[in-house]
C-alpha cells in the first residue's frame, strides 16, 4: 500500500491512500486535499501543484527534469531545496511520502 501525507503551513496533516501510477498531485486533487490547485491537470504548464518534500524523502525520488526545474522558479511561493511539482512525482509500491503544501499556489 502506498500513502501520502500532506501537511499545510499551519501543521494540519492529512494522510491519503494512493494508487500506484497516479501522481502525488492527482492523489491530492481527487481526494480534495486543499493546498494543491493543479490548474493544468498535470501537463506541467502551471506550477500550481508545488510541494516541499520532507528532507528524509527527497533523495529517494527520481530526479526532476529540466522543464519541471524551470517551472518551479515561477511558483507562487519561492522554491526551496526540496521543492517539486507534485504532478511529476509518480506513486510507486510501498511509497510513504511526506510533503508540505505552500501557503498559496497562485
Amino acid at each position: 500500500m502506498a500513502q501520502i501525507t500532506y501537511t499545510d503551513t499551519t501543521g494540519d496533516a492529512r494522510t491519503v491512500t494512493a494508487t500506484v501510477g497516479d501522481s502525488v498531485m492527482e492523489t491530492a486533487v481527487r481526494n480534495g486535499v486543499p493546498g494543491i490547485v493543479a490548474e493544468c491537470g498535470g501537463s506541467l504548464s502551471c506550477a500550481t501543484c508545488h510541494v516541499f518534500v520532507d528532507d528524509a524523502d527527497f533523495a529517494g525520488l527520481p530526479p526532476m527534469e529540466d522543464m519541471e526545474d524551470e517551472m518551479l522558479y515561477g511558483a507562487a511561493v519561492d522554491r526551496g531545496p526540496t521543492s517539486r511539482l507534485s504532478c511529476q512525482i509518480k506513486v510507486v509500491e510501498e511509497m510513504d511520502l511526506h510533503v508540505t503544501t505552500p501557503e498559496t499556489q497562485v
Binding site: G32, P34, E39, C40, G41, S43, C46, M67, E70
Partner: protein, 418 residues
C-alpha cells in the same frame, strides 16, 4: 430548500462547486451533466489521452468520496431541455428524461460545442470532431485502423490532435483556411515557428487552403475516402474537424438572459437577470485584464478562465463581490512543443523575439506603448513564468534588454509605478 443547481459538470461547473465548499457555503449543490461520464478534464483529450499516455481514470476530477463528503450531488446523463425560472432566480429545470431539478439559484456552466463543417460529405462516417470524451473515445477506437488523416482547422485542437496522430505514426495533413496557424491566439512569429516545427515533424501543413468537399471512398461509398482541397484530392481514412466552437446559449436565451457571443455577464459572473450565474467558455465578460479599455468584452476558452471566473462566481453566491484575479494564461502541448501564453497580445505595437535554436526555445514578447502585455513561450517556462508574474505585479520588462535570449527575463524585470 433546493439550493444551487449548476448545469454543466465542466471545468467551470466543478470549480464552482468546489470553490463554494472551500468558502464554507453550506447550501445544497447539485452538479448536473448531460454526458454519461463522471465529471472529467478535457485538455488531455487531444494530447496525452489520444496518445495513450494516460488512462480515462486519470481524467476524472474528483473521487465519489470527495463529492459525498462535501455534499455535492453529482448527476450525469441528464440533458436539460427546458427551464422555468421565476423573477427571484429560483425555478425548475426539466431534463429530456422527464426528471425535474428544482433550484433556488441557477448557474450555467454549459460550455461550447464544436462548430460543424457545412460542407458536402461532412456527415460521412469517419468525419469526427473532438470536444468531449465520447468524441475522443471514438477517435481512439478508429485510430488503429487508419493511416491517412486530414485535420481540417489549424487552431489549438487541430494542431494538438495532428501532432498526437503524427506521433502515433499516421500520415497527417493539416488544412487551414487562414494565412497562418492559430488565428489570432498567437502572433505571426509564433504561428510561423509552429508551422515550421510541425512541417519538420512530418505533418503536411496547408495554409490558405480551401476545402471543397469530403469525398466518399470509391469502393465503400458509406465511408470517408478523401478531402478535396484547392481542387485536388487528399486521401483520408479519417477526417478530424476543429474549426472552432459555438457557445451553448440556447438555455440562457430561453429564459430571457442577454446573449451576445455567449451569455453576457458582469464582473461578478452574474447574467442580465441579476441573479443567474454563467461561467467558463459560455460566458461573455468584461475584459478582466488590468488596463483593458472600458467596455471591452471577452469570451475565453480556457481552463484558467473557467477556474478563475468560477471563483468569482462562488464569491457572488456567498454575497461578496470579488473581481477576477490574475492574468489570463493558456497552454497548448503540441507533440514535442509546449506552448504557454501569458496575457492577451491583441493591440500590441511591438514584438521582441527571443530565439535559442540550440536549446529549442522560442519566445515572443508583446508590448503596447512600451509596456509588456503578453508573451508566447515555446519550451520556455522560465520566460513564461517571468512574464506572467511581471504582468500580475504590474512590473516592466524593458524591450531592448529583453532582446538578448541569454538574458534571464527575471533579472531585468523592474517594479515601477504604472
Amino acid at each position: 430548500m433546493s439550493g444551487l443547481l449548476i448545469i454543466g459538470s465542466s471545468q467551470a461547473g466543478v470549480q464552482l462547486a468546489v470553490s463554494l465548499r472551500a468558502l464554507g457555503h453550506e447550501g445544497p449543490i447539485t452538479l448536473l451533466g448531460e454526458e454519461n461520464h463522471r465529471p472529467y478534464q478535457r485538455p488531455a483529450l487531444s494530447k496525452e489521452f489520444l496518445q495513450d499516455v494516460i488512462t480515462k481514470e486519470s481524467l476524472i476530477f474528483r473521487t465519489q468520496e470527495y463529492w459525498d463528503e462535501h455534499r455535492i450531488r453529482v448527476v450525469k446523463n441528464e440533458r436539460v431541455v427546458r427551464i422555468d425560472k421565476h423573477a427571484d432566480g429560483s425555478g425548475v429545470a426539466h431534463a429530456i428524461s422527464g426528471a425535474q431539478f428544482p433550484f433556488d439559484r441557477l448557474a450555467l456552466t454549459v460550455g461550447a460545442r464544436a462548430r460543424r463543417l457545412p460542407l458536402p460529405g461532412a456527415d460521412l462516417p469517419g468525419v469526427l470532431y473532438l470536444r468531449n470524451a465520447d468524441d475522443a473515445l471514438e477517435l481512439k477506437a478508429r485510430v488503429p485502423a487508419v493511416q491517412d488523416v486530414v485535420v481540417i482547422g489549424g487552431g489549438f485542437i487541430g494542431i494538438e490532435a495532428a501532432a498526437s496522430l503524427r506521433k502515433l505514426g499516421k500520415t497527417v495533413t493539416l488544412v487551414e483556411a487562414g494565412p497562418r496557424l492559430v488565428g489570432r491566439a498567437v502572433g505571426d512569429e509564433t504561428a510561423e515557428f509552429l508551422r515550421a516545427h510541425h512541417a519538420a515533424a512530418g505533418i503536411e501543413v496547408l495554409l490558405g487552403a480551401e476545402v471543397g468537399r469530403i469525398i466518399p471512398r470509391a469502393e465503400r461509398g458509406d465511408r470517408v475516402g478523401g478531402v478535396e482541397v484547392d481542387g485536388r484530392t487528399i486521401p483520408a481514412d479519417l477526417v478530424l474537424v476543429g474549426v472552432g466552437v459555438v457557445p451553448n446559449t440556447e438555455l440562457a436565451e430561453s429564459i430571457g438572459l442577454a446573449c451576445d457571443n455567449g451569455i453576457v455577464v458582469d464582473r461578478y459572473a452574474v447574467a442580465s437577470d441579476g441573479v443567474t450565474l454563467a461561467v467558463g467558455d459560455v460566458a461573455n465578460q468584461p475584459n478582466p485584464v488590468p488596463g483593458a479599455p472600458d467596455g471591452d468584452r471577452v469570451r475565453f476558452e480556457s481552463v484558467n478562465n473557467a477556474v478563475e471566473q468560477a471563483k468569482v462566481a462562488a464569491y457572488s453566491i456567498t454575497g461578496r463581490q470579488e473581481e477576477y484575479a490574475g492574468i489570463p494564461w493558456f497552454w497548448s502541448n503540441q507533440g514535442d512543443l509546449k506552448l504557454q501564453i501569458a496575457g492577451l497580445s491583441s493591440g500590441h505595437d511591438r514584438t521582441v523575439v527571443r530565439r535559442d535554436d540550440a536549446r529549442g526555445r522560442f519566445s515572443v514578447l508583446y508590448y503596447r506603448c512600451g509596456r509588456i502585455i503578453a508573451a508566447d513561450c515555446v519550451n520556455n517556462p522560465l520566460d513564461f513564468m517571468a512574464v506572467k508574474s511581471a504582468l500580475a505585479q504590474g512590473a516592466s520588462i524593458p524591450p531592448d534588454e529583453a532582446a538578448d535570449p541569454a538574458t534571464p527575463l527575471k533579472s531585468i524585470t523592474r517594479n515601477d509605478p504604472r
